[in-house]
Symmetry: C2
């Protein structure tokens, strides 16, 4: 099985979709998110199916697959586990090519009945030739195919694909990353992988021309050799980012209960990633930080940062964080310091790199000139701006958009890569003006980060990755 993975293309271009097991009576049931998402994305033709019949939002509910008038390419199923195998048979009779089983209650339960049902499901797939996604997963998000499992996901496509054993982590990454300008080509939440597995998806996406970065969240590997080969073939063509879940004893217990898989050890994964040129990642937040760095910071080489922002204590802490992480914050030459000092008063500012412009915050023209001087200095390789808007005075708060524009326009003079750190707030009233600032940074094409740790660690990881890639290509 799984030999013909290039044929996975058909998963991402179904001509018609049925939604088997859609909840008719309770519009708040979570299974309704599939229906709502597909409608929102304009997926058509779309056929909801439930033996109870009825209607949702003007859509007729078909009693079974065979009652549907046209052909069905793709079925999204939330039917109970016990009837899942018979749905495959029904799909076979209707000429269905693939079924995504969102349904859980299979081998991941560790219970006899679930294990038996998953074996039956797998056998039904093999017998009929219908390819199965899942069970126990959220399936496919592919904006060009108008497939989505969340109505709020972006409708535009982008260069990132994500293969995630967990549906929650798939939703989590897209939700986080979309706010920071990341768009996706194909996201596959694949769960228990009773038929199609991580290697199938990885092999397919390696050659998929719309994907230039593949993110992986994998809890367990069905065939270690095949997966290593797939990683090796993929790595560096698209960039590959890998989170391996369940690497600890307790974590492995969670993965066994989550998707019924067995995970490898921490050391195994570290060694494998280094060897293959895969970026190893440890949390969803880190994955997002690395994605925006790869996509929007456009680093080449060089670890020397120019830092421009607000707050003396903040300046010290971000600089310490950069240097502890292995980046450099070199001293601005006296000549450039004098140049800035000529029009900038010194009290309450720092003009050495880091630049703390706290006391000249209301003069955006000067800020922009200073950013321009710093960015044109050949002693640095990239610029990072940092803002703590929650602490700004009311007068400064009104200038925050201009400040972001001032730093980023000024920095453009040096044609250096530029990133921006904006400290978010928990408080709704603060979030209401900080979120638009983040959006402004994102709309300007900047990678936006939320913490000093996050920006320093992501830049360092990406630079290490590029260095590793260069040294591998030289040998």
């Amino acid at each position: 099985m799984n030999l013909n993975t290039t044929s996975l293309e058909f998963l991402f271009h179904p001509r018609s979709v049925a939604l088997a097991g859609v909840t008719v009576t309770n519009p708040e049931h979570w299974t309704r998110t599939f229906f709502e998402s597909l409608v929102e994305f304009g997926c058509t033709p779309l056929y909801p199916v439930n033996p109870k019949g009825g209607e949702i939002d003007g859509y007729k509910i078909f009693l079974s697959l065979k009652d549907i008038p046209g052909n069905i390419d793709y079925v999204i199923s939330t039917v109970p586990a016990r009837v899942a195998p018979s749905l495959v048979q029904e799909g076979f009779e209707k000429g269905v090519k693939a079924i995504h089983f969102c349904t859980s209650g299979f081998a991941e339960t560790g219970e006899e009945e679930g294990i038996r049902l998953e074996a039956e499901l797998k056998e039904a797939g093999r017998r009929t030739g219908i390819r199965l996604i899942g069970p126990n997963c959220m399936g496919i998000y592919c904006p060009t195919a108008r497939l989505s499992f969340q109505a709020a996901f972006p409708k535009e496509s982008g260069p990132v694909s994500f293969i995630s054993q967990s549906g929650g982590n798939a939703t989590g990454l897209v939700s986080q990353a979309m706010l920071r300008g990341v768009r996706f080509s194909k996201v596959i939440s694949y769960g228990n992988a009773c038929d199609l597995n991580e290697s199938d998806y990885l092999e397919y996406l390696t050659d998929e021309p719309e994907t230039s970065i593949i993110c992986l969240y994998v809890e367990g590997i069905r065939d270690g050799n095949r997966f290593s080969q797939a990683l090796q073939r993929a790595a560096g063509k698209p960039e590959v980012l890998l989170i391996q879940g369940g690497v600890t004893e307790g974590g492995a217990r969670a993965t066994a209960g989550h998707t019924g898989s067995l995970a490898g050890s921490e050391a195994t994964w570290d060694a494998l990633c280094r060897q293959l040129g895969v970026i190893r990642v440890h949390s969803m937040d880190e994955m997002t930080d690395i994605l925006v760095t790869l996509l929007f910071l456009r680093l080449e080489k060089g670890r020397r940062a120019g830092l421009i922002g607000f707050g003396g204590g903040a300046s010290v802490l971000i600089t310490d964080k950069f240097e502890k992480t292995g980046l450099k914050v070199p001293l601005l030459p006296q000549k450039l310091r004098d140049q800035i000092r000529a029009y900038t008063h010194i009290a309450g500012n720092i003009l050495r790199n880091p630049i703390d412009y706290s006391q000249t915050v209301d003069d955006v023209a000067k800020l922009s000139t200073t950013a321009s001087i710093v960015s044109q200095w050949d002693g640095i390789d990239f610029v990072v701006g940092f803002l703590t808007p929650e602490r700004a005075s009311p007068g400064t708060k009104r200038l925050l958009f201009n400040i972001i524009d001032g730093i980023s326009q000024g920095s453009r003079a040096g044609s250096k890569p530029m990133g921006l750190v904006v400290e978010p707030s928990l408080r709704p009233e603060e979030a209401s003006y900080i979120f638009p600032l983040i959006q402004r940074g994102v709309a300007s094409g900047l990678p936006v980060y939320f913490s000093f740790d996050g920006v320093a660690s992501a830049i360092n990881t990406v630079l290490n990755y590029y260095e590793n890639r260069r040294s591998r290509s030289e040998t």
Copy 2:
């Protein structure tokens, strides 16, 4: 100098306060935050001073200190650096005991004039006997004394004090920590420390009965031996948390520009903290996480966690994070698993520890019973609940308060320490229902964290600290 530090008590009980250099014409100027904060805190009598005269919000502006009718104990000054030394002389003539100079433009500029002015200021303090806070800092927040430099700080007092060389970091910690239930006795932003320095404040707070935790953000030490001795005497009486800023080459350059200090090396600080029993901290977020752990988690010993929350992928990642950090997530015994399984369906849940209750989220009674069973199990030492509210369905969102109550009430059965992780959101519309959830957790007396990294790292740090303290007290 600085011999009589017990006398610092007078700083925190001024009978009258003058505000020298208050901005009269521009109500949005940042110096107005002092006036607004003191009025908001009911600081009285309060005398604004500016040679221009006039009135603000019904307060008469006095032309100079000597024009003020009564005695003045304490002056908060935002006058320009060049007139700072003469203000000390004026204060002397008026019988002032202490002056806080917010004003910057002194030695931290690295420029000749600033260095000269700071020397003059220091000499004026020495000559007159007036104790000086600063210059280049935000001064004192002490709710019982009705002193504050931010109007929005809490008016209730609490067990934490903070000695911070940086005003921004002082504001940052109070602002973050107040949302998580932390209240402060005394916060001192002390800047360039031309007179009173970190050791003076530390020595005073060590014996101050309202303070049981001292946080320190220090960029440079005036007298290393005295500071080590002060740390040694303090450590463990109150708990001491220390962030050392400027430990890298670039960071040291920033501290030189920020508060004109010289910092020690990373290794020096690590060794010193281990030896003295001080908790070394590396960011403001980490400091807040450790504070809520010390204050509200009430750990004793033992690294074994019971984890209860929502999301399979989240369960795997939090468990991995705990175990990688050095905590344990032991397997729930079969007997207890059977007990929970008897009333909990298995599909989509994990019942092994971690407990993923995703599919029974709408039955709060069951959730509470399960939390109660887990918390009473003698195989764990503490319980952590975790929620990703942004990803919840609309039906679940309405239940989130009940879910927090269910987990925390259930967990009370086992009398185990309990913490809660709530993933925040950037989006104002999400923050508007997530922030009240955080407040609910805080109001229930729970330590609330915002990331898996944050909770695991803080618990591990506090357990290491307790172990270190026990082993030190045994030898």
